[in-house]
Symmetry: C2
Amino acid sequence: MSDSSIKNMEQFAAISGISRPTVSKYFNDPDSVRRSSRERIEAAIEKYNYRPNIFAMNQNRALTKNIGIVVPLLSDPYFSEIARNLEQHCIDAGYRPTLFSAHGDSKHEVEVLDNLRSLKPAGVLLAPLGRASDQDVLEKFCADVPTLIFDSNVGECGIEFVGSDNFQFARDITNYLCRSGEPPCFFEMKTPANPNAHRRRQSYLAAMEEFGFEPQVISVEGEGWAFEEIGFRGAQDALLKKAFATNTVLCSNDRLAIGFLSACYVNGITVGHGEGCAIRVAGQDGHPLTRYTCPPLTTISHNYEAVSLQAAEALFAAIDGQKQPWKSTRIEGKLILRASA
Amino acid sequence: MSDSSIKNMEQFAAISGISRPTVSKYFNDPDSVRRSSRERIEAAIEKYNYRPNIFAMNQNRALTKNIGIVVPLLSDPYFSEIARNLEQHCIDAGYRPTLFSAHGDSKHEVEVLDNLRSLKPAGVLLAPLGRASDQDVLEKFCADVPTLIFDSNVGECGIEFVGSDNFQFARDITNYLCRSGEPPCFFEMKTPANPNAHRRRQSYLAAMEEFGFEPQVISVEGEGWAFEEIGFRGAQDALLKKAFATNTVLCSNDRLAIGFLSACYVNGITVGHGEGCAIRVAGQDGHPLTRYTCPPLTTISHNYEAVSLQAAEALFAAIDGQKQPWKSTRIEGKLILRASA
DNA sequence: CCCTATATTTTACGCGCGTAAAGTTTTTGT
DNA sequence: ACAAAAACTTTACGCGCGTAAAATATAGGG
């Protein structure tokens, strides 16, 4: 418990009366040293509170336990939630995760990937920015480092792709909306950052066709990641123009829907599936706050747990040397019926 | 642009026909080498796309440019927003920020701090968990590493404290609520993680006394960081019991308020300051989504920009060797009047 | 109790780079 | 054109630790 003036493993080994390599072995696997040594080391750790420098440790190690986790934007609840899950899975499996955000910007993404190489990661879990990503950089990175791409597919690179089944998302919720009331219009951003948005639109179109309804897509302007603001403005505009052919709107994602709900509110339009409601609104993603919107938002939620677990385990398997052909795993979401639709 | 087979600075220096130490100097400061050398190095970088290993770089450097940023929980929008700001300021000042989250858990916080030492940071910007933090560990860390504490004060440790003026927050919004309608009740968590919550309660009490109103504090049960859920349940309960003496509620923070609004909605209680509204609700923090709640939430917002700038610059000054006595800087928030109150 | 097989520890070197000190070249001033 | 100053390059060593190979200690068998 005393304040260790011990600066490195050399000194620590000397004080505990054991050779440095043995101490090194101990930290790598406590059971790999003799019991008597282990006890002396552990007593010394207790006494001096010494810990090896993790970066020096990884410097000359054949296989590190580092795993890099990269998401496009940490402030987006979907990514912060999935990142949280991934980190936990890594820790549980004995790895050391490090989290990076590309801050919604392609240049940052490239920089993160560059820095990641210095970490000598055993593997990387990467959710690319999508459309904006530098494809060449991603591919080269995947070629150099065992990488599992999740959330947003960017060609067959990396070990495997794991993400949500966006076709199923839009299909199932469109299906529900059609069966429970008027068919939905589709509300989306004109230039979404993420390719999943395209899948959702296409799936909506297909589902509507299957039902024999006329689809209607409202694409609103707006760049960047301020989806609520974009949804709000787009909805304001569209509501003013009475642009929606039916009384039901399916938003491309929950954050747009949150903006949409807000626009409805300020325009005095009551949202919900009940009597006296003017419009039904649904989202997609299972954003943590959709439970608390007014009204609570009907949505289709990512299976966060399954996506993150599948992604993590596929990466671990690859790190363990199990070679598999590239594949794409798409995990179904779960419809969450609430008052908004 | 070719795929560099270059593994280290040695090889890179050899290929570019320059000594390794000179290359090292170049990466440390391109202007510190002769122009002819610089051009040759830059040509080689272009050609082989070489970058030094950032962790090896910092290994034996007297002063690194690393800055650690630690927040209690990244999934909380307040922290992700402030962290984003801090990162940008670090980058702008030529530092290399690395972001860590304590995941709302004291043990993680200790671990993060341990790992941070390995980074040999020039400085650390630390928002402690608060009540749950291991005080001894924090103090020892501050003694070893130039650390600036922000958001939540934990005794006079570190270089300086920078945070919001929580007394002013609750005072000003209580003031506004008293002047614009019935005096507010105060809605809070019984056992908040963060000491700022206590300040806000006390400030509310003081402000009410000043106005000559009877204060009323409703403290709801709930552990952890699921504030919306805690707010929702607490509000459900309190509304059912008609626990509020007035028609106005000041929530201790915006996330509780979001849960509160949701509870009002499902109970058919209209929120707002207008005609026909049953209750007024206000929050505190300036959560990014409060603009889009229904109704939009009246709140008092942190001055994110000022807090992060002040914190960053104080740290930079300390890193540059400017010794100042410890002080505490509390930055005022800005009242944001919306429809909810 | 002695010898061999196995478990540990030592020795020695490497990872990728920073940096001080000493030697060399280039630039500057005149 | 020459000396002094400035810039640069070499040399040499260090950071904190991993790891293979050699040396040593421990355990098992008769």
